[in-house]
Symmetry: C2
Subunit: 186 residues, 2 copies
């Protein structure tokens, strides 16, 4: 329990929130700007790096972590890394609903791999442009595969063979970069 | 650099991704399920707790952290805590665009406060239901205040006086709970 009169620190960098908090609590509040942003990292690269650091704490030896972002160009790349939570909240149909509000349904699928070989961390990113469909097509794959038509393709990820998907997918491209790096080391 | 033949561990709990990774790398991969989810915590409560733990590492004494979620009912509560990234990516207009695809634009604004008094952590959550407007109204406030019409109110947060907003807002309600807890302790 704080001593009466102890300064209460408020961890935020938002001055509007500081102002509201002072008004609402009616006590002296000292804003402190501490970096808590890793909790909700903004970019796929930051997230996959943070995941690797977290995973390394409990796993020995060569380690690979992966994360994916799917962003709509018309929404400035949103939901991006948060596509996972959109799927959990509203499914592929929720993604299509959001896309249905946009004239331009262009999207970008990105896969980031962070690889720890025991001494250094390497990052590989694969990207595939395409568009979000309003109706799903195909039954292969997983996640949003049936809703994503890669640019220049006539089939969604979920309508392709594994080989065809691997050749053009965001994940296939990221793993290709990793594979080259590994060479015959693994 | 790993020894030739060393096992590469892949930190994921998604069996589809394990399958693709094995295919793509052509090497033995051992999936390991390590908890990296705190990086992208699912709920507002988890995020604010994680933020507090992070902030406590660098700040002494009584400490308060805050986070906000704004979720559309028709999207299962998305974007929720990720509203911040939607605003950064596409602004309030992006929120309205998403809402425009929904017949039901009901939304829920939530504010979570995690408070460390020097010996224990307390969590307080304030919630305000309402709806997302297709056009902004008002100039006060910040963030998405002009796009949120609280249920039963005729004015958006951005059209209200500070006093009126504090009485019904998600943040006002969370701070009211904290204020009661603090009593005259601070």
């Amino acid at each position: 329990m704080p001593k009466r009169g102890a300064t209460l620190r408020f961890a935020t960098s938002n001055k509007h929130k500081v102002e509201e908090a002072r008004r609402l609590l009616g006590v002296a509040l000292e804003p402190v700007d501490v970096s808590t942003d890793e909790i909700q990292a903004a970019t796929l690269e930051e997230i996959v790096h943070a995941k690797l650091e977290r995973a390394r704490a409990s796993v020995d030896g060569p380690l690979l972590v992966e994360d994916v972002a799917l962003g709509l160009d018309a929404l400035g790349g949103f939901p991006g890394p948060y596509i996972r939570w959109l799927l959990e909240s509203a499914g592929g149909a929720g993604l299509a609903t959001i896309a249905s509000a946009l004239r331009d349904r262009s999207a970008r699928a990105r896969c980031a791999l962070a690889y720890w070989d025991g001494s250094v961390v390497s990052l590989f990113v694969g990207e595939t442009p395409g568009e979000i469909l309003l109706e799903p097509r195909g039954t292969a794959g997983f996640g949003w595969d049936a809703w994503f038509l890669p640019r220049g393709a006539s089939a969604t990820y979920a309508e392709m063979s594994s080989d065809d998907k691997d050749r053009i997918s965001h994940r296939g491209r990221a793993f290709e970069l990793l594979r080259r790096e590994l060479g015959d080391r693994v």
